[in-house]
């Protein structure tokens, strides 16, 4: 597998969804190619850090306006 093919599979690889016929070739390429190997590892770290981003603001508070609207909701 070359860099072009490997790069196109990286999105699937993050979700462990590389088609089985390509899996061995993909993994082999990452081991042989330092650029793709390092890039993919860092891409995966980036994605796992995204899942841990803290939330901003206090928008999770139920305001009186919303509560009133909820009480008057259509049934």
């Amino acid at each position: 597998m070359n860099c072009y093919e490997a790069i196109d599979l990286m999105g699937d690889a993050i979700e462990s969804r590389v088609p089985s016929e390509s899996r061995a070739g993909f993994e082999e390429h990452l081991e042989e190619c330092p650029a793709c190997g390092t890039y993919f590892e860092q891409l995966r770290s980036t994605v796992s850090a995204l899942a841990r981003l803290p939330r901003r603001g206090d928008s999770g508070v139920l305001t009186q306006d919303l509560l009133d609207a909820f009480r008057r909701r259509p049934r």
């Binding site: 860099c3 072009y4 790069i7 196109d8 990286m10 999105g11 979700e15 330092p34 650029a35 390092t38 890039y39 590892e41 860092q42 891409l43 995966r44 770290s45 980036t46 994605v47 796992s48 850090a49 995204l50 899942a51 841990r52 981003l53 803290p54 939330r55 901003r56 603001g57 928008s59 999770g60 508070v61 139920l62 305001t63 306006d65 919303l66 509560l67 609207a69 909820f70 009480r71 909701r73 259509p74 049934r75």
Partner: protein
Amino acid sequence: MSDIEAPFLAKLKGGDEAAFAGLVADLGPGLLDFARTFTSSTALAEDIVQETWLAVIRGLHAFEARASLKTWIFSILVRRARTIAARDARLHARAAARAAEVEWEPGQGRRGLWDDTPLPWSVDDPEAIHQSQEALLVLQTALDRLPEMQRQVVLLRDVEGLSAADVCNILALSETNVRVILHRGRAKLRQALDRYMRDGATSDGAAPSEITGRVAARGIR
């Protein structure tokens, strides 16, 4: 609909206020972050979230749970936001300023992904980067600066953890589109983290040595 969600939905439809408060607490912060992708104004983003909740309340009795509650609510936000934010002229100015960037395309290899050959970050475990508050701040800043569509797809998929299929539905994009946009966005975020790990470039302009020290103090290096 999941087995967990059915009883919860029944409570909501039955007027259970605690259940509704729980829903707002659970989804509110994510909805606000998502609303911010449609407008540069925090006040407008808050209006979008408020209007979304009002639409949710109005539509709850008719919601048939073909999608998950979360997907349905995020879809409502997209519709409200597109109506409201269309009037926000600043959005268009921002989009135009970014048009010149080289974007990754499938089949184009590393073009748009990296210029300098990626070098390993000098950390024992790159997965542990999320333990650094500063790295998360770098990531958040870079996320806020992504082009609108990339920011939306990354937020829904990677921050909210929605499935690729749900992201397609919420934003009315094809699966292929979502995959390409997602990789473009993730590539820019990796680059921002890479710059930070390499020479400590942060949004606050702190000196590299200072950062190295701060990161070391958190056990990253």
